[in-house]
Structure formats: structure tokens, C-alpha cells
Amino acid sequence: MSGPNTDYDPVEVTPLKADQVEAMREAALAAIAAAADLDALKQVRLDHAGDRSPLALANREIGALPPQARKEAGQRVGQARGAVNRAIAARQTVLEAEHEERMLAEETVDVSLPTTRRRRGGRHPLTLQSELIADLFVAMGYEIAEGPVVEAEWLNFDALNLGPDHPARTMQDTFWTEPAEDHVVLRTQTSPVQARTMLTRTPPIYVVCPGRVFRTDEYDATHSPMFHQVEGLVVDKGITMAHLKGTLDHFASQLFGDDITTRFRPSYFPFTEPSAEVDVKCFVCRNIEPQSCRTCRGEGWIEWGGCGVVNPRVLVACGVDPEVYSGFAFGMGIDRSFMFRHDLEDLRPLFEGDVRFSSAFGTEI
């Protein structure tokens, strides 16, 4: 490469020659492009951009040039070094991306593996059904009233116009407690809560009382010594059967679906007069060709509960002036409502505690 340079400068530096610099740059770029991984690139960086790299050494020679030549050589070397550094950086980015991609690929898992380490919990469907019903009434402005299940005979019967010799007392097969002279029973209905409500609040009263009740029924597919009822009580000025009908129609449509209405049939309850049985229109067949319907057994209607206008005798015993106020009351089986809403034919799974049953309903119904 050396040779006389007579017309330019006596002190000529070979590495700073244009073609030399160009060759270093080409060599560096080729090495960078060839670096297959980050480790290789690290070596390339040392070889071509490090302190001992040809371009770095060339850079040192610039000072030895005559002043008029320094500028040109400096530019040439600087451009070459810049190009090499940019190329390294660019390659670095590419290799890093490739590396990461490879690493992630190696971390691939089988996402179809089972993931459930812990049991799922669930709430009892009757709890959920009670809460759903409570919420429907709370939305209407009602409040939820409660009372004890071991109850005074007076509140379960006498205050509700079921005197000691009332034949209807034998209709409700009552669990009595000992000693008998204590007059304590397991409540046969949630109605004593209504009595308690009237005894402790002043009208207007708009409450529902969901709760457990007890009857001496042998346990089978359709009877249980313990079951759940929800009763409603409204005491206000000017309350009529029409308000009762409106409320139950609304309740039925909320629980069973739009346009599901109720039907009243005369009945007898000591605490209401007039009294009615409430049937709810079958929400499966909607009373359209019910003959083959399993839910309503071809009736088109399903027996749902009892209701009526509060008997003034009950108002009197509970301290409400029947001259000023009137009221209505209704009662439905929560278990029964649940059973036909969810197509359950045998009630016993509700009380057997089998987690496979309750889990099926999760935490909301």
C-alpha cells in the first residue's frame, strides 16, 4: 500500500487512506451482519468498534497528519465509525428481539391443562331464592321483617285469629315443645312475624318476611318438617284486594317472567277475610295448550300460595285500628317456588347437604 506521495504530504499514513478506511468499514459491517447471536455481536463489537479495533486505531493516527489533511481524514474515519456503531445497535435490536422470541417460544405451556386447585364455593339455592324475593320487594319499597322460629303460641295462633278451639289449628300440624304449659311452638307459618311487625311498627307497613317454618309432616318427596315461606303484609289506609292482586301479579311477573299473572280462588285462612288461594299462570306453557305440560300437570296454572285481606280481628289484637287502616297479607312457599322455577320434582336434595346440588347454583339465581 505504501508508495511515494510526493505531490501531497511527506508524512503519509496508510490507514487513513480512503480505500483503507472504506475496507475497514466494509469488514466491520460484514462482521456485524454475520453476527448470529448476541454473544457473537459482543465479539464483533470488540473487534470492530472496540478500543483496539482498526477504525479506533486509525482514529488515533489522525493527529499525525498535517493540519490541512486532518479534517478530511477525520471526517472519513468518523463517518465510518458512526456507520459501524449504528449497524451494531441495529443488529443488537434485531438479535435481542430474536432472542426474546426464542426464549418465549421455549416457555410455551399447555394452556389446556386443568387449573382448578381450590374447590368452588356456593350458596344454598333457598338462600338465593329468599334473597331474590326480598330484593324484588325491597325494590318496591318494602322492608324485610324477621322473627324467631321458636315462637309463642299466642303469636303463632291466637293473635292471628286462631283461637285455642279453632278447627284450623289442626290443619297446621304443629310441633309443640315441652313443658306444654309454656305455650311455645315451632312456628307453623311466618305469620307471627306479621303480628310482631304490627305490634312494633305503626302503619303504613309494607314488609315481607321470609323464613323457616315447621310442620309435623313426614319427610318425603313433597313434604318436609321444615320448609321456607315468604309472607307479605301491607297495612295502610284504603288497602283493598285489588292492591293485593296488583302486588302478586307484579311479584309473579318478576319471579317467573313477563305477563305471568295470578288467579284468585276463594279459600279460608283465619287471619284473612276475604281469603284466596293464589295460582300463578304456568310460566312454561303460559296456559297455552297446557295438556302436555309437565310443570303445571296440564292445569295451565300452578298453586302458589294463600292470601287475603287482613282480618280486622288480627288488626285489633295487634294494636292497629281497623276503622282507619286495612291491609292485605300473602304467603308462598319459597321451596315450592324454587322447585317449579328450577324443575325440581323431589324437594329432599334441598335438605340433604350434598354439595353437588348447591354448587350447581353458584352464588346467584
Partner: protein, 835 residues
């Protein structure tokens, strides 16, 4: 009440073409709910005809039985169709019964017929003959249980080959109604026919069977003295002599009584039952020849005894009304007669008693002696007191007509029917109660239709008919009006409640507790609250455990579970055991429910009902009831975390039970502290007494292995039970918003060696106190026992974090606080810091 349709239509007319369903639909809408329409022949199809037995040849069989090989004439057409040529003039039928003879008319079902129960008849080879059908017994036709022999029809029943259905009343429809206690009058055909009259459009011509001319009372009848006119306001006695005790009950009467659900017994008894069904008035018949002297009606005296018709010797109560004669007590008035004067197979003189009895006495006597009878059912609900004479006269008429006797001219009538009350009813009451625009005129019309006497306007004076003792209050009459106007016409109007306050705090928190536990993986269960002493024994409760104080039920369904439980554990442990038994070996369940803790505070008074009780009376009532706190229980067994590709399973541990309660407490903003206690049913070394702010709220831990075994649960099952009412009462309502320091945290770890018996909670408490206010948090991250700390010792390693609210901690500040903490722990618990 079961009412044969033909009987109803004997008493009232409906427009031609009215179907049974139309009648029952209307009656259902006005308050007599249809239960079922049945006819005995509903399940019978195919040829069922009158047959005449022409020949019968007894043929002894190898099995010891003798069968009859019969020729039965079933009419020329059927003889030709089903005859096999083996016999002439009829078809050949094998019959096992012997209660008939050639010439008798019998009920014959021919091949192609189907009897109740889907029993298909075909010509079949039996006992060496081809039998073309069957001669039927009453039971085979679903007409009763009588299987002693086949039915032999009366000689005038009809011609061979004729359809036997009408003869046997097989197509007779019987309507079964549900009768509410306020409609006792509907326990009679008279009452049902009257309901048809007022309910079915176009019905007319009501023929009241009690409207009849009855002979006037005279002195020639059997002497009767009523000493208790309140208990027995009316007593009518009539007598029939020369009665033929062998006289048969006419078929129509047998059919109707049977259809109504009663058993035919003998003509004399059947007639009294028939008249009871027809009029609603229970009748009692005595063998008049066994009566000694005058009949006296009075209350029983203490200790008196009577053996009733059912053969039961009863000791009577002074509240019981009795019928007596010179021989002593001969009947429990209105409820059941006595043995000594019972009508028998030799009775030729019958004394007919038709008396009105006080309904309350009837109810009490029935309950006291546990007697339920058709008579008692009617007497205790109230019978029309004005029809005693008519009913007695009807009985006499039927006995004479069918039993061949003569009516004795004596007619005894003691007392007069009580007058019905006059009730003032506002003319607009029905409108106000129903929300329908019912006019006063409409109300009056409806009330008259049901038999009331109505006068006045504005305020109506209403006298109910004597068969409606249930109509006593003004409001009762509004129901009569509304049901006739039609419940189906009541409009649907929503009332407008005042703004409600939503769920109470306690109601919200109970939901929160349930959701929290469900979130923790527990499934809610509901158990019956009944327990027996054996259940408490299974829990291993000590003899003096307060949970053994139970409320006893007088009439439990199961004597082994005769108490209301004081703890949720028996129920939930049983539920867990059942799950394990079903193969759900990893199970975690919870239950909330009230428990019953007797207070032995004396009786809950029966208060008056004509006024509001005083507050003091109500308080006393509540105080007399047992305490019924809401409890929460959890049980877990098997694995808490399942094993799998991620690693090993983690079995449930005592700490899961404690943590379940802690998660609930957290949800309520409460902190639970645990300390060791020995209490059944838990493992003596693994039971935590749980407290909130120093008050014990419950227990948690590992269940004693013996208890696990008793409930079918694996060892290491864990359980907790807490008083949820206590937790909810203490729940933090408004939580204060927290502030955080943004200065750097300083971390210090310490390892302390203490005696193994020192509770970790005590060490932590001491560390907290000693560390002072710079301590941000403390966490026990390791517990070590082993060689490195020596026998009877354990090492507790804590991570402490320090931070100041307003500055960065200075060099050494955290270390100084740590040292102070360790010093306090050393002082309180003997802790030594590990090098």
C-alpha cells in the same frame, strides 16, 4: 267431600247440556275447589255385560282348588262372537268363585275388555279349558275390596248381553271437593246443591231435602232430659219398631255411600250415614230395646268411663258431653256411641237421635280422645241446628221404607235452635274490601243468594242462614259478596308504598358472610335443627356441657331427634359425612342457622286478643322464649388444595377452620384472636377459642378423631362454630379511610427461641408493643422446631417493617426499634434471639 253427581242433580237443576267440568269450574271459582272427578268405571273399557249362568261344573284341581267350568249366556250376538263351540247357548268361562248358581245373573267381561289396573282380558287356555272371559268380583271392577265372591246381580237387573255399566253405576261421576273449615255446610249434598244454585249460571229448582213436613213434638216419645242446654241445644228422638234387621240396603244407597267414601255396613247404619251425607246432620241410632229409662244429656264426671263403638275403653273428661240412661253412660254425645246400645244384627227397634251439639265441645272431645269420624268432622265445624227434626224424620222414612218397620208415633224434641246473630254490615264494605265498584244492591243480592236475611240500607242488618255459623263478623259477609261477584273480576292495582329503607345492616352483613365463605370455597347447606341426645354423645360433649340443655319437642317426628339443637355441628357434620359417603371426599361446607338455647323463664302467656297487649306483656312474651342466636358453622375434610401438575395436594388443617372464621371477621371489619382451649368435639390440642375484642365468639380447629369416626368423616376433618349475631353486632360500620406513608420502608428480621408451649400470638403481641409506633407490620414467616433450637423449644422468625409517617428513618432507628421489640418479647415470653 265426595259427592255423586246424580245425587247433586237430584237436589238442583242445571241447564241441559251443562258439563260436569262447567259445574266444577264454577264451584272452584266460588270456593268449592275441585279435587278430582272420578267414576268407578273410568278405567274399564270393552265388553262388560250381564251374563246368565246356564251351567256350572265343579272341577277339583291338583292344587287343591276347585274351579267351576261355566256356560254363561251373554246374548245371542256375543255368544256367537265369543263362543268356542265347546258349550252351547253361551260362552265357556272358568270361575274360581262359588257364591252363585245356575240361573244367576252375573257381571261378565269378554275378550277385548280391560279392567282397572290395565288388566286386559283375552280368551285363554286355563285348567284345561278355553275360557272366553271372566265373571267379575266387586274388587276386580274397582268397586271395593270385596273379593269373597263374584257379583250376583238381582234377577231383574236386565237381559244377558246388556251393558252392565248403568246397572252397577260404573259411569256415575263423583266429584271430590276440598272443603275449607268455614264451609262446613258443603259437607252435605244439601250444601253442595245450594252452591251449585248460586254459582252455576242458569241453575234452578233447588230442592232442600230438609224442607219437609215433620210431625209435631208430643209426649209419647222416648223421654229425654238435657241437663246442659249449652252443650246440646236441640235433642230430637224418634223411634222405628218392627224393623227387619236382615233387610238389605238398596243398591242406590250402597253406591252413593261408597262413592262418598264411606263403607256400607247395614241398612240401619247406612240410612243414618245416607241422611248425614244428604243433610249434613250426623245421626245416631240406638238399639231401642237396650235403652233403660230416660236419656239424659250432661257433661261427664271426673273418672267416668265408656267403651265406645270402636271397642276403645275411654276415661272421660268433665268437658265431654255424654248421653246416659239408667244404665249409665251410653255414648259420647255427637262424637261416638257406646257399645252397650249399639245397633246389632238382631235389632228390631231403633231409636233415632238427631241432636245439635256445641261445636267447640265437639272439637275438644274429638282432640282429647283422638277420635276422627265423619260425624265429628261435621259437628265440630258447625251443623245447621234447625234441621234436627227434618233429618230424624228422613231417617225414619227411609228405615220404614227399606227396613219394613213402622214409625212410632212418639216425637221427642228438647230445646230450640239458637238464634243466629244479627250483624251490622256497611253497605259499601264489599266495595271497600275488594276495590271493585260493588253497589249496595249487588251486595244485598249476593247475601240473599247465600241465604242471609238482609234489611236496612247504608248499614245493613244481616242475619246469616242457620247453616252458616262461620258468618259472624261484618268482614265475613264481604267475602260472600266478593266470591259471588267473582274473584276473577278483582282488578290488579299496585299500591304505592312509602320510601323503604332497604335491607337492614344485619341483613346485608349476613349476605356478605355467605358470599365471603362461598368465595373461600365453602358450599352452603341447610340441615334440620332436630337432634337427639345420641348426637350430642357423638360430639363427645361432657355431661355438664351447657349445649346439653335442649328444648324438647312434645311430638317429634323421630324420637331419636326429639330436641331443637343448641349447636349446628351435629347437622353439618352429618352433611359432611354424607358427602364423603357419596364419594365427595374433598368437602368444605358451611351453614348458618339459629340454635335454640332454653332460658327456662316460664310460660309464654296466652294474651287477650281483643286489644293490643301492653309493651310489658310483649316483653315478657319474648323473655319466655328460648334465646335463638344465629350461628355459623363450617366443616372441611380431605384436601384444601388439590394435587395436580402444579404440585402436591394440601390437606385441610385445623388452621383452615380458624381462617374461615377470620375471613368472615375480615369481611365484617373485625379481628379475631385465637387461644388454645380444650372443648368437644375438637381435638384437645388443636382447638382455638376465637375472640373479638376480648369476647369469645366461637371455636375452631381439628375435629376429635373419635367424633370424625362417629360422623363417617376422615381423620383431620376440621370444623368451626361461631355466634354470628355477636360478630354482626360488633361489625365495623364506617371504616376510616387509611393514609399511607410515602417514605422508604426499613426491614428487619428476627428469630426468637421460646418454649414450645408459648403461644405465637403472645410473642407477636410483645413484639408489637416493644417495637413502638414505627412498626408498620409484622409477619411470622417461619416456625422451626428441631435440633438447632433444642428439646421443648421452638424458633419463631418474624419479618418486621418499619416506617415513619413524616420522614425517612435515620440510620439505626429501625434496628433500635427491633431491639426494643425483642427486649419486650424476652421479658414477656422468655424469648431469646437466635444468633
Amino acid at each position: 267431600m265426595k259427592a255423586p253427581l246424580s245425587w247433586i242433580l237430584d237436589l238442583v237443576d242445571v241447564p241441559a247440556g251443562t258439563t260436569t267440568e262447567e259445574i266444577t269450574d264454577r264451584l272452584t271459582l266460588t270456593g268449592l275447589k275441585l279435587e278430582a272427578i272420578v267414576s268407578p268405571g273410568r278405567e274399564i273399557t270393552g265388553p262388560l255385560v250381564i251374563g246368565r249362568v246356564l251351567t256350572m261344573e265343579p272341577e277339583p284341581q291338583k292344587n287343591g282348588k276347585t274351579i267351576n267350568w261355566c256356560t254363561v249366556d251373554v246374548g245371542a250376538e256375543l255368544n256367537a262372537a265369543h263362543g268356542t263351540g265347546e258349550q252351547s247357548g253361551g260362552v265357556g268361562i272358568v270361575c274360581g268363585a262359588h257364591n252363585f248358581a245356575p240361573g244367576d245373573l252375573v257381571v261378565t267381561v269378554l275378550p277385548g275388555g280391560v279392567l282397572p289396573g290395565g288388566f286386559e282380558i283375552g280368551a285363554r287356555k286355563t285348567y284345561g279349558h278355553l275360557s272366553a272371559g271372566m265373571i267379575c268380583s266387586a274388587r276386580e271392577l274397582g268397586l271395593g275390596e270385596d273379593h269373597d265372591g263374584i257379583i250376583v246381580l238381582p234377577p231383574d237387573a236386565g237381559e244377558p248381553g246388556q251393558d252392565v255399566r248403568p246397572v252397577l253405576g260404573l259411569d256415575e261421576e263423583t266429584i271430590e271437593f276440598e272443603v275449607n273449615p268455614d264451609r262446613a255446610y258443603a259437607l252435605s249434598l244439601r250444601g253442595i246443591a245450594r252452591e251449585v244454585l248460586v254459582s252455576v249460571e242458569g241453575a234452578s229448582g233447588f230442592r232442600d231435602p230438609t224442607l219437609r213436613d215433620t210431625p209435631a213434638a208430643n209426649d209419647e216419645g222416648h223421654p229425654v232430659v238435657v241437663e246442659d242446654a249449652e252443650g246440646c241445644p236441640v235433642f230430637v228422638a224418634r223411634r222405628v219398631d218392627g224393623f227387619d234387621p236382615a233387610a238389605a240396603t238398596p243398591d242406590f244407597m250402597v253406591q252413593r255411600i261408597t262413592a262418598a267414601g264411606m263403607r256400607p255396613i247395614s241398612l240401619a247404619v247406612d240410612v243414618t250415614n245416607y241422611v248425614m251425607l244428604e243433610t249434613g246432620r250426623p245421626i245416631h241410632g240406638y238399639d231401642a230395646d237396650t235403652l233403660q229409662g230416660a236419656i239424659v244429656v250432661r257433661r261427664a264426671r271426673e273418672g267416668e268411663k265408656l267403651t265406645t263403638l270402636d271397642g276403645t275403653a275411654r276415661t272421660l273428661d268433665p268437658g265431654d258431653l255424654v248421653v246416659t240412661d239408667d244404665s249409665g253412660i251410653i255414648g259420647l254425645g255427637g262424637v261416638m256411641g257406646g257399645e252397650t246400645t249399639e245397633i246389632s244384627g238382631t235389632t228390631t227397634s231403633i231409636l233415632v237421635e238427631s241432636a245439635h251439639w256445641d261445636a267447640v265441645s265437639m272439637y275438644r272431645t274429638g282432640r282429647r280422645h283422638k277420635i276422627t269420624s265423619e260425624a265429628g268432622k261435621r259437628n265440630e265445624r258447625g251443623v245447621d241446628p234447625t234441621i234436627c227434626e227434618a233429618a230424624a224424620d228422613r231417617v225414619v222414612e227411609l228405615l220404614v221404607e227399606h227396613g219394613g218397620g213402622t214409625a212410632h208415633p212418639g216425637v221427642t224434641v228438647v230445646g230450640t235452635p239458637p238464634a243466629m246473630p244479627v250483624v251490622e254490615v256497611a253497605g259499601d264494605l264489599a266495595a271497600r274490601v275488594s276495590g271493585m265498584p260493588i253497589t249496595e244492591e249487588q251486595s244485598v243480592e249476593c247475601l240473599r243468594a247465600v241465604g242471609c236475611d238482609v234489611s236496612g240500607s247504608g248499614t245493613l242488618s244481616v242475619t246469616p242462614p242457620p247453616w252458616r255459623p262461620d258468618l259472624t263478623d261484618a268482614q265475613d259477609f264481604s267475602e260472600e259478596v266478593v266470591r259471588l261477584v267473582g274473584y276473577d273480576k278483582v282488578p290488579s292495582v299496585l299500591p304505592t308504598p312509602p320510601s323503604g329503607r332497604g335491607l337492614t345492616r344485619s341483613q346485608q352483613l349476613r349476605r356478605r358472610v355467605g358470599r365471603t365463605l362461598a368465595g373461600e370455597g365453602y358450599v352452603e347447606v341447610v340441615s334440620f335443627p332436630f337432634v337427639g341426645e345420641a348426637d350430642l354423645d357423638a360430639l363427645g360433649l361432657a355431661a355438664d356441657d351447657p349445649r346439653r340443655d335442649l328444648l324438647r319437642l312434645s311430638n317429634p317426628l323421630n324420637t331419636e331427634a326429639g330436641f331443637m339443637t343448641s349447636t349446628l355441628l351435629p347437622g353439618i357434620l352429618r352433611a359432611a359425612g354424607k358427602n364423603v359417603g357419596h364419594g365427595t371426599t374433598d368437602v368444605a361446607i358451611f351453614e348458618t342457622g339459629t340454635v335454640t338455647l332454653p332460658r327456662h323463664a316460664g310460660p309464654a302467656a296466652i294474651l287477650p286478643v281483643d286489644r293490643r297487649p301492653t309493651d310489658a306483656e310483649l316483653e315478657a312474651l319474648d323473655a319466655a322464649l328460648p334465646a335463638q342466636p344465629l350461628h355459623l358453622a363450617v366443616v372441611a375434610a380431605g384436601d384444601a388444595v388439590a394435587g395436580g401438575w402444579w404440585g402436591e395436594a394440601r390437606p385441610v388443617s385445623w388452621s383452615d377452620a380458624v381462617d374461615a372464621v377470620r375471613s368472615v371477621a375480615d369481611a365484617l371489619g373485625l379481628e379475631v384472636t385465637a387461644s388454645a382451649v380444650e372443648l368437644a368435639p375438637w381435638h384437645p390440642g388443636r382447638c382455638a377459642e376465637l375472640s373479638v375484642a376480648g369476647e369469645v365468639v366461637g371455636h375452631a380447629g381439628e375435629v376429635h378423631p373419635t367424633v370424625c369416626q362417629a360422623f363417617g368423616l376422615p381423620k383431620r376433618t376440621v370444623a368451626a362454630e361461631v355466634d354470628l349475631d355477636l360478630l354482626i353486632a360488633r361489625a365495623v360500620h364506617l371504616r376510616t379511610a387509611p393514609t399511607f406513608s410515602s417514605y422508604p420502608v426499613a426491614k428487619e428480621d428476627v428469630a426468637l427461641v421460646v418454649d414450645a408451649s408459648v403461644p405465637a400470638a403472645d410473642v407477636e403481641t410483645a413484639l408489637r408493643e416493644g417495637a413502638g409506633e414505627l412498626l408498620e407490620s409484622i409477619r411470622l414467616f417461619d416456625v422451626y422446631t428441631g435440633d438447632q433450637v433444642g428439646e421443648g423449644k421452638k424458633s419463631l422468625a418474624y419479618a418486621l417493617r418499619f416506617r415513619a409517617a413524616d420522614r425517612t428513618l435515620k440510620e439505626g432507628e429501625a434496628a433500635a426499634a427491633r431491639d426494643a421489640a425483642v427486649a419486650r418479647a424476652a421479658e414477656r415470653t422468655g424469648a431469646v434471639q437466635r444468633a
